[in-house]
Symmetry: C2
Subunit: 544 residues, 2 copies
Amino acid sequence: MSRYAIGIDFGTESARAVLVDAADGRVLSTAPCPYRHGVLDRALPGQASRLPADWALQHPGDWIEAVETLLRAMAAAGSPEDIAGIGIDFTSCTVLPSTDDGTPLCLIPEFRDEPHAWPKLWKHHAAQPYADRINARATEPGGEFLALYGGKTSSEWMWAKGWQMLAEAPPAVSRSAARWIEGGDWLIWQLVGAEVRSACQAGYKAHWQRDAGYPPRQFWEALDPALPSLLGRLAEAPRPIGTRAGGLAAVWASRTGLRAGTPVAVAAIDAHAAVPALGVHEAGELVMIMGTSTCHLLVDSRRRPVRGISGVVADGILPGLFGYEAGQASVGDIFLWFVRTAVPGRYGEAEAAAFEQLSREAAALAPGASGLLALDWWNGCRTPLVDAELSGAILGLTLTTEPADIYRALLEATACGTRRVIETFEADGVPVTALHACGGLAERNTLLLQITADVTGRPVAAARVPDASAVGAAIYAVAAAEQASDMTGAVQRMGAAERTLYRPNDAARSVYDDLYRDYLEVARHFGEGGTDLMKRLRRRRSVA
Amino acid sequence: MSRYAIGIDFGTESARAVLVDAADGRVLSTAPCPYRHGVLDRALPGQASRLPADWALQHPGDWIEAVETLLRAMAAAGSPEDIAGIGIDFTSCTVLPSTDDGTPLCLIPEFRDEPHAWPKLWKHHAAQPYADRINARATEPGGEFLALYGGKTSSEWMWAKGWQMLAEAPPAVSRSAARWIEGGDWLIWQLVGAEVRSACQAGYKAHWQRDAGYPPRQFWEALDPALPSLLGRLAEAPRPIGTRAGGLAAVWASRTGLRAGTPVAVAAIDAHAAVPALGVHEAGELVMIMGTSTCHLLVDSRRRPVRGISGVVADGILPGLFGYEAGQASVGDIFLWFVRTAVPGRYGEAEAAAFEQLSREAAALAPGASGLLALDWWNGCRTPLVDAELSGAILGLTLTTEPADIYRALLEATACGTRRVIETFEADGVPVTALHACGGLAERNTLLLQITADVTGRPVAAARVPDASAVGAAIYAVAAAEQASDMTGAVQRMGAAERTLYRPNDAARSVYDDLYRDYLEVARHFGEGGTDLMKRLRRRRSVA
């Protein structure tokens, strides 16, 4: 067995590589590489004219520059003959049009001033009208596929972005877009010299299912006769995550100092790569990546339509299992909003100090003693309601309410949101057997973790795994190189083992059972037909 | 006609006198006199032992010292033979036990260490259990009187405080309490040498009605056999406000330099005295005294039971008319809570500067454009729900919500609360023909006044009348001295005439009609049987 593996995480503003020990997952070296062009959300390179609102593009040259720089750095840190494999994870759905041979249209001189020729970054939101039109046909023939995606496609995903390109780009651009491909898959194509797409990206972002393939031609045709042409620009047989896409091309070997033929794994979505990095490989173990939002990942042997999930995909997280993704649309975002917008000056100017004082004060409060109840919908509700038009609420305010009361109520609200995700999985037939937490909040917000344990009534195992996505990508690389029937061996050996365990407190739990019932009552009233007040408020906001 | 009148306002921490021109109401001289003992809420004078929670007492010696000091100062400022009359207004219900000859029990050496022998200040809240027991019998025979008081008595009022004294004081104290009398009435008794009580205090605070008298003996008997004894300790025939209680006693003439026999008017409640000071004398003109809370006062020729008012009383605001009092339990209090609790440091440390910046930013927002909706129940809801267990709410929060959005939503919420008070009056048969605003908020919060005009769809006439209560007391004194059939002449001549008019903006009004419908929907859901969630939150707060 070779001794090392390389994982590279392609993020929004930069890429970051790790060299890990294939025996135990220890990180031996890391290196960052910021993108020269960052996020293109104001103008194209060298152009003065502004991009429209909600646009967000990237430059494929930045990815090439990063992968070359980082592979060379990792080759220098290890020794090329000891590199078992290379894995990458990528933001998704970040998607670009290319020619048949993989040339990005934006790099062809005649198209470089055309925004639609450039890669659309995951957070490009200008395709919302196309997502809306797809979702409006969810109950028409052929729309059944959406049941596996919480009932809705997203403006961030493959089909909405593709339709926008077809509908809005100059005909020469859309005609030349022989391929419509994820950035991660495109980069793998460059490295191995063959177009090998990932079931992870195809499954979660293009609605591909192992049994049914992509959603049927008739469904797309009814929406727009141009749409079925996208089917031919995707890939027919995406490969399971954790498998081999090919060997490193000779040209890349000479550019980086690595061995030609070094196994390269199919690309992964960045969040999903955290699962192997945490050492999780069993059905029912819910991984919560807690940051500005929380992403919930889970594998199971069965495929069930669960309300409001982002998707359930064969081979999408671990090969051989169905991977589920759910989400809370805002978590850390709410706390940061609170500290920046609604905490008085006596808590200090520095956010970190304010959080520390708030946490200390909030920790001294008894569960529910704030007399407040909040709905954690500052950025809408993902699972289970999939409704971006919902908004946050704080109830129970009095003249004696203190900032720490509100902060604690916000923590409790996001924990109630987490409990609701868990109960949604279980009610729809997918058992949740354990809770794992990672990400920025899991590393520093101990009060949130304790409250999450108390509200859910389950122990929360928090892990600190720096560069988790890159480490996960390296584990996928080892699995791909080993060509085992599943990834269990690599994950057990290389995934993180250390945990801090937050156990539920019985007394707190009983108060929180009541509070959670109240949360559900309010969530149902405002989110599920009791009233459409929040939509009226939102409309008033946008027209005013 | 004499040239001057004296008005003295007895507040919570101090008294304040004005000498006004009886011809036009101009204030010629003012003088303050703080109370030596302030509010007794920790211990009795000279005692170490702490008073129980929620107790608040005053020292009658402070009132005597203040009235002597201030009458002497006003006598020196005017000329005694030109003083037409003396009027006082007083906090209410501030009530004390005295002997038959008017000696306060607390000034009798054997009782001075007994808290129940001292005057209970209006904000003494320890009688809540007694108010609750009275209200629980509202639907029993004899309880009909409560319909004229929004359906509930208050722990701050005469009967709850009296019952507390009867139930908790040593028998010697309650036996010696031959009289149970408002501080304002007691002070008039001292000045004129005869016990003459005011229909204003008796009507609003002891549930006395001109036709029915006090609530019937049987009602009280059913609650506690000791309670009917209070009836004999009140006064049988309170006199209309704005009438003569008597002439200044010779002993007070010599102590103050005023003329013996100078007419003294019956006492008024401090808030109610603002109505004549504003020059308001016609039915339907709503006076809003806007401060920490808002008190709404209105006169009409008919007596109707209006939902959730504090009371409707014959001769209680102006003689010959029924006076209505309604209220919003928190207004300025909410804004102050917000600035102190939920506004970030970049708005500055000084509250005034923060309010100025918030007002400027909030004024730049379009009506309803915050996308927020708040319920103004930080201190419960007075009119129309009379429910102290309700609490505040903010709905529609997003990651882009700014402090000025919230501030504007709070202003809009209190304006919706005002509209609801107006609509409650009108729905229950009492027309509102004009809106007058005075008090601290009316003098400085121009944005609130404009939003109130826009939300109610009515012009708001704001007046700046410093020492309004004292000026009103002086107008009552002139009316009492003139012995006219009504006060119209004195009010027209002496009341403030200057107004700043805030006219409703048509475009804003139409947005606010929608917002108000939403406000009503949420208010009904949380306040009127949709859910008792807020009561559950409150209970959780108190047990935790």
